[in-house]
Amino acid sequence: MGYPYSHDQEVPIISKYLGDPEARTLEGWKARGGYQALEKALEISPEDVIEIVKDSGLRGRGGAGFPTGLKWSFMPKDKSRPHYLLCNADESEPGTFKDRELIRWVPHLLIEGCLIGAYAIGADHVYIYCRGEFFEATQVLARAVEDAYSAGFIGNNVMGSGKNIDLTVHVGAGAYICGEETGLMNSLEGRRGEPRVKPPFPAAVGAFGMPTTINNVETLCAVPPIVKNGGEWYRQWGTEKSPGTKLFCVSGHVNKPGNYELPLGFPLHKLIYEIAGGIPGDRSLKAVIPGGSSVPILSAQECENCELSYEGVEEAGSMLGCASVIVMDESTDIVHQVMRMAAFYAHESCGQCTPCREGTSWVTQILKRIEDGRGTEEDLTTLIDLTDQMVGTTICVLSDSVAAPVQSSIVKFKDEYVAMVRRGEKLGIT
């Protein structure tokens, strides 16, 4: 069930207990079948756990959609050095608000997912890296972790299995880039959260120089139900390439914004008009960003037949990302919103790579100039050329994330840019 609204077309697997305060407590969680999946996992071999997750086809919910079982299998089998599991709870992609809900409503589901993950990859210690702004959610998680320690689910000899798994709640200090996996590792180590050059990949050299796997909160929350019910069970929902269910964060111009858990492949149009209650005032749809602010904008027409699976959104010309569906109606000033997104990336660029550091702020300045009515049509070509040079030339993909909304909006909403430029010309500003 979604929060704060639900819909009967939802398939509540991980969101079943959102809005149920009793599910937070250890007793309440156990009464809801909690920690049975962990018990089952500990009875089979780590390899078998990975096999189940591989069979399920679960893909990472942090944005990239990398198959989780495959990622886990990259961890070295040699246990002479410590291994780590990091849970990425830095949720800061504009439009995304699912991990905070999961942490504050079902903290034990996350803990259970972390423990199963740690067992599967042979990690001795799990760090849950929460973004610093999550004071409330972090306190809920902290209390749940303490309870799970005293009940013997975390710590020495987990559930009598002979395995020792520690878990620490770590709190960041505000920086979007710490959500990037290697930036998060640097931040955890007490450094600036600057992404690292890959290779080496985290499975070889990760946090504290040791083999590390990093997973998003939602990914780890999906693991206990999969382990409990099997990989095939999870595949009854979704598509061949995008199995299972996903939380869709719907925000912007809809009557019922919120999180909804739906099978992957769900039609975007239906999500907006049926599940999320349509657009206020019956205004018409102008555009949708389907996966958080880092992905290309879709025009209303492109939304018509768009199917919300990893491959479906790609076909429609964008990316599913973390399924953060930002809905914009006809009243939206596209240029202003794109400028606001560019300003975000300029603020959050860590500054290591020149195309990103310079590019993000130039793009923002040019967009501001256009908005102020001092732009020229040449500026639009400059924006395209500039953002072209920001793709694939940097350490991480934050740089590419600016290019996506800028280029797609100039292509799809050129009229609006041109109108803004002309308006300035008419007023004699340029």
């Binding site: 504009p94 702004e133 409330e136 709640v169 960041g172 007490g190 600036r192 925000s251 606001r340 860590c350």
Partner: protein, 227 residues
């Protein structure tokens, strides 16, 4: 600042279909009174406590804070990883991170002062100078912006009578613009100190500001009585 005597219309606890109290939504009852010494070491790097009144001269670290700092040191394979938790702890006590604080932390952890400065200035949550007793952070990123975030920001500036980022004349408010707070489904999302205010519209802004003023007055009155 845990209990708000009113719910705004769009409060995440009473929108939608859930008939929950604010305490239930926030998990206040479940969390309970968290020990100032940090509780179990596994959660010592998280925030057990948010102090209403900061003391810029508080020492680093004494009593329960020392206990918490020492627990933090046990949670990582090396000492440097305690840097960000230690800075968080210092800000919780002092309200901001001054260059002097950075140097003290560098000393405590055994890092060079220059390095600690480069790390502290990387993170946006560290206030580099004093802020008002209530730090109001208004999200103006895309989802909130589509629903009026910029107007809410302006309203806070107007009702607290302050410039962006400056402390108001009465010394209790600082309003800043924030990036996405991961509450996009509850626009506009505003963080005041450790607490989220969700679905804030311009109509609620005066109510929120008055409420903060009233709890400030209450707390300063009780301080006078004690003093």
């Amino acid at each position: 600042m845990s209990k708000i005597p009113f719910k705004n219309d769009g409060w995440s606890g009473n929108t939608g279909e859930y008939d929950l109290t604010e305490e239930q939504v926030r998990g206040i009852d479940f969390v309970g009174e968290r020990p100032i010494g940090g509780g179990h070491p596994s959660v010592s790097p998280s925030y057990p406590y948010m102090l209403e009144d900061k003391n810029p001269d508080a020492s680093l670290f004494e009593g329960p804070y020392k206990e918490r700092f020492e627990k933090i040191l046990t949670r990582y394979p090396d000492k440097q990883a305690a840097l960000i938790p230690a800075l968080n702890l210092a800000q919780e006590l002092r309200g901001y991170i001054s260059p002097v604080t950075m140097d003290e932390i560098a000393n405590l952890i055994g890092l060079s002062p220059a390095y600690v400065r480069s790390v502290s200035t990387f993170y946006t949550m560290y206030n580099k100078q004093p802020v008002g007793k209530y730090l109001i952070q208004v999200c103006t990123n895309i989802s909130c912006n589509l629903c009026g975030g910029e107007d809410v920001l302006d309203a806070f500036l107007k009702y607290t009578n302050a410039e962006l980022g400056e402390i108001s004349n009465d010394g209790i408010f600082t309003t800043i613009e924030a990036e996405c707070l991961a509450g996009c489904g509850f626009p506009t999302c505003v963080q005041i100190n450790s607490q989220y205010f969700e679905n804030v519209t311009i109509n609620e802004v005066p109510k929120i500001v008055d409420y903060l003023k009233s709890i400030h007055e209450k707390s300063s009155m009780s301080q006078e009585e004690e003093g």
